[in-house]
Symmetry: C2
Subunit: 420 residues, 2 copies
DNA sequence: ATGAAAGCGCTAACAT
DNA sequence: ATGTTAGCGCTTTCAT
């Protein structure tokens, strides 16, 4: 079967899509063009080529307007609401129009092969004039991968999209998408606790699983489907799974050391009741730190990560017993201004009789009075390290599942510095 | 070329991927299998089929474990770090293994065609046992579309990913992804102010453009590429562009009416200096409302949408002249607790001598003392209406570009209710 | 009821 | 230097 006859039978309309035809006569009769091409195959091809040559000079006027033909074509069919959508221009259409082969045009457009400058230019020009855009799916099929990565968080599976409302995940999500895109990968958003059915139809090269919870099946499902997984340290050792993580022990250590240096002897910890590795490690690190310093283990668990439950836990933490705490570390995404207000309502002066620090990426912390000390988990760094690793695995065939620990950053502000 | 010979030359390794082989002997010599299949073509195919039949009984134990073979296969090659990745199981592999044709297996798996129950079951069972997963890209190519939609916001193009940190966009993004996914479309995140180069390689069926700014090229570029655009009302009338929007006039009207009913006569507006349709309309509606009520037009523009600039604008707004305002409407994504604190620092009692309302999706508003009145722009409703429209356009070929106006919702809380 | 073959649009060996 | 051809993996007429 020749290229020319590909248009017969299966897709008789295609001839009408040849750009030169609309560009040629302008108002010479849209219906006439359609009729002509529908009847004679060879004639359609011939007319298209001829018209294209004529239109070439005209197209020279606007260099960058790849959409010129498309717009013209659309404008030529104003009232036709029920008309079938114009078929897209394919490589073969450009090739025929330019009087070249698919190979040549492909090489010209991709900058591959050895072509004479004139031919390359002719191919490119024709493609531009016709508004040709390569079919991404066909390229992907050919390439064997889609350069698409999934992004899913483990926490908050009962409210599958609220993770975006947490400053930490918002940042992590953005940074992941940004870094990936810079490497040529697009990110698709999946709901927390995604099921097979939600990603099975997607050509995912890999999936990033942020903070998986202890009992979710996501990681296993993905690995069973032989999709590389990039997650936190909890996946360490699983074949096909890779990790990057923050140093949870350092989170606790750095902050409590800082409190201690300021004279605090009764620091209290507020942490959500979560089964992510991070929260479990924070808890363990806290106990260890207190034991090592001979201080009481004061902590309150928030029922959930939201502002409401965390503020409530803060109130509980600050109200305990006759011996009130003298420092508060909130390891949960709560709004710093709200935490500060809560402490005040209970009667604390910050930092007078309570040092305050929050693990948070929320920029409101710098706008309170006093500004609130925060500990950043460096979502941008996590994303960068993760995507770098991902690219290495996908493109250099890296097999090692070793991961990386990203250091956290303590931003000391007035809320945790004893005055005087 | 027969099906059997497809494995020759091009992909000599494939024979080794037949599941039965790994399941068969366990430690009988992994290298031997590789060598065997690499040398003899006919032998490889034959061995694979035979081994598969043997493994069939074994696989009957676990019904739902689609990944059983995959895991077994991986476990069988523990030390081989440099081994080429195991090729994926294709439809033809399943067909050969089951002794059926591609057609039959495809029909069996998709529930199409008329097949005998036994054959259908056999095909399905074999596919499951082999861990077959259809190649999404091939399906997309066949189907002519990828069920993939892009999502990009217009605002904040200088910091292309911070939009996720705004509660409104976080919600809109999540709701868009959720609604789309429920309809079978996945959402890819694009940076604010995306260029052609960032989405050109993606098989996007459509793109959602949230709040385009006046001068950005995104919408034009997409339309020129004949990609359907779903955006706000600012794209009204453009062929190929569809819209859903919030009623910006109602935002101002409802809130100022509410203030007015509470006795406020000097309401002041804080709005960011942005060229989105929403902000421009808010500004216009404000002037109109003030004129209609014979009240002075008090407003302050924040340089940018962030917390810092908006709080600064609030301070300016509340400090103006000898006649202090008696109500404040913040139409910008600022943290309600911060706005409240700012008002207090300047010396206002809320709601005693200042009524306060914020256009915000930030849930911290309910946790302040007093809770802050908010006006929700209903991102969930916007997303739902938008995606519903998108699906209608993409799947029912809807051509009308008419859009929909989503009503806003005023949540009156103590911050805007005069006491007594 | 089942299978053979065409072809979605593209790229890359392999001619010429 | 340019063209011909064979697939990527799947679904779908159309025969049988």
């Amino acid at each position: 079967m020749t290229e020319a006859s590909e248009h017969d039978g299966a897709t008789p309309e295609r001839g009408a899509a040849v750009p030169g035809q609309d560009g040629h006569g302008g108002g010479t009769g849209d219906a006439g063009v359609g009729t002509r091409t529908r009847s004679g195959t060879g004639a359609g091809a011939g007319a298209g080529t001829g018209a294209g040559d004529g239109a070439e000079a005209e197209a020279g006027t606007g260099a960058g307007d790849a959409g010129a033909w498309a717009e013209r074509s659309g404008a030529a069919r104003p009232g036709r609401a029920a008309a079938p959508p114009v078929p897209r221009v394919r490589l073969v259409d450009v090739a025929r129009e330019a009087g070249l082969s698919k190979t040549t045009v492909s090489a010209a457009l991709n900058g591959t092969g050895r072509l004479s400058p004139e031919v390359r230019e002719k191919a490119r020009d024709t493609a531009r004039r016709m508004g040709y855009r390569p079919n991404a799916t066909a390229r992907q099929l050919r390439a064997g991968r889609a350069r698409l990565i999934g992004y899913v968080v483990g926490e908050l599976a009962d409210t599958p999209w609220t993770f975006l409302e947490s400053p930490y995940f918002a940042r992590l999500t953005g940074a992941t998408a940004a870094t990936a895109l810079a490497r040529g990968y697009a990110v698709v958003l999946l709901p927390a606790g995604s099921l097979q059915s939600e990603w099975a139809a997607l050509p995912l090269d890999a999936v990033v699983v942020a903070d998986p919870v202890a009992d979710d099946r996501i990681v296993e499902d993905l690995l069973a489907a032989r999709i590389p997984v990039f997650s936190d340290r909890s996946v360490e050792g699983r074949p096909g799974a890779h990790w990057v993580d923050v140093d949870a022990t350092a989170v606790v250590g750095q902050t409590l050391d800082h409190f201690h240096a300021q004279g605090a002897r009764r620091p209290v910890l507020v942490v959500p009741d979560s089964t992510t590795r991070f929260h479990r490690e924070v808890d363990a690190a806290h106990r260890a730190w207190c034991a090592a310093h001979g201080l009481p283990v004061l902590s309150v668990r928030a029922a959930e990560p939201g502002n409401g439950p965390v503020i409530q836990a803060v109130e509980t933490a600050l109200g305990v017993g006759p011996d009130r705490p003298d420092a508060l570390l909130v390891v949960a995404e709560a709004s710093p201004p709200l935490v500060l207000d809560a402490a005040r309502r209970i009667g604390y002066d910050v930092p007078g009789d309570l040092l305050l620090a929050c693990v948070s990426e929320d920029e409101t912390a710098v706008h309170t009075e006093p500004p609130v000390t925060t500990l950043s988990l460096r979502p941008d760094a996590v994303a960068e390290a993760g995507i770098a690793h991902l690219v290495a695995v996908l493109e250099q065939g890296l097999r090692e599942t070793g991961g990386a620990l990203v250091p956290v950053r303590l931003d000391v502000r007035a809320s945790s510095v004893r005055r005087g």
